[in-house]
């Protein structure tokens, strides 16, 4: 999973809306195109970008190609953000302890 590809795929509001719709469940290209004032080929292109980025999966069902979210891909990005929050909190808690041990002359007491 490539974070760059995922970020750039999610940079487009239409593609984010498609992801939000797919979070509710599987949908066909036709169903995904409905809320947008957009041709089916245009929606298909967005779907290809999301699919190439590993964010969604498409299966074959007769003539239909239903799409769904690739949960493990999104959770990779999500994990990165959660890590950022957690890391910041853990860091600053450690910094509190470090600051408590510093004296006012600018030397680190240890």
């Amino acid at each position: 999973m490539n974070l760059d590809a995922a970020f750039s795929a999610m940079a487009d509001p239409t593609r984010r809306a498609i992801l939000a719709r797919l979070a509710l469940g599987e949908a066909t290209v036709l169903e995904l195109a409905k809320p947008f004032d957009m041709s089916q080929p245009a929606v298909s292109r967005h779907i290809k970008v999301l699919s190439d980025a590993g964010l969604i999966l498409q299966r074959v069902d007769g003539t239909r190609r239903p799409c769904r979210l690739a949960p493990e891909a999104l959770s990779d990005v999500d994990r990165w953000l959660a890590m950022l929050r957690q890391a910041l909190s853990a860091n600053y808690d450690r910094l509190d302890a470090l600051l408590a041990g510093m004296d006012s002359t600018g030397k680190d007491k240890k």
Partner: protein
């Protein structure tokens, strides 16, 4: 109540605030002296920072390398843009995990707050799109609910 706040501002910013019970001078030094930085800027438990380069002057390089006991590692590179001792640091940074994350332009302010310090870290992502991508992945309630639904169906 958590001491850390993390919120968005405008189209491209993420703002983190945190209060410390120490003077702005101490908090600033803990951000600019490698011997101090490597003691706290470690992320989740279990990680250490074997390489901590922090050349705190305009144009000076930043390189932090983290490692855990299992041999995993990642690193961050960056450059300082400007520094006003004990008050303000401006730098740019990016993570290598090993994919490189988009450049994050960071302004960190240290303001007196009673006996302590209010630190405000303002991150600016390169464009609205990148920040929106961050939002779409978990800071947004709607998506969080979607994930919860998602977990039920997996």
């Amino acid at each position: 109540m958590s001491k850390l706040t993390l919120k968005t501002e405008g189209d491209t910013h993420v703002v983190v605030t945190r209060r410390f019970q120490a003077s702005p001078e101490k908090v600033y030094r803990a951000h600019t002296e490698p011997e101090l930085v490597k003691k706290w800027l470690l992320g989740p438990e279990g990680w250490s920072m074997p390489v901590c380069i922090n050349d705190a002057r305009p144009g000076g390089k930043i390189r932090y390398e983290w490692a855990d006991a299992k041999g995993n590692g990642f690193y961050l590179t960056g450059e300082f843009i400007s520094l006003e001792p004990f008050r303000r640091i401006v730098h740019v940074e990016r993570m290598h995990m090993p994919d490189t994350t988009p450049d994050n332009h960071v302004e960190t302010l240290f303001e007196p707050d009673g006996q302590g310090t209010l630190m405000t870290m303002r991150m600016t992502l390169p464009d609205a799109a990148t920040r929106e991508a961050m939002l779409a992945t978990g800071m947004d309630q709607g998506m969080e609910q979607s994930y919860q639904r998602l977990e039920k169906v997996i």
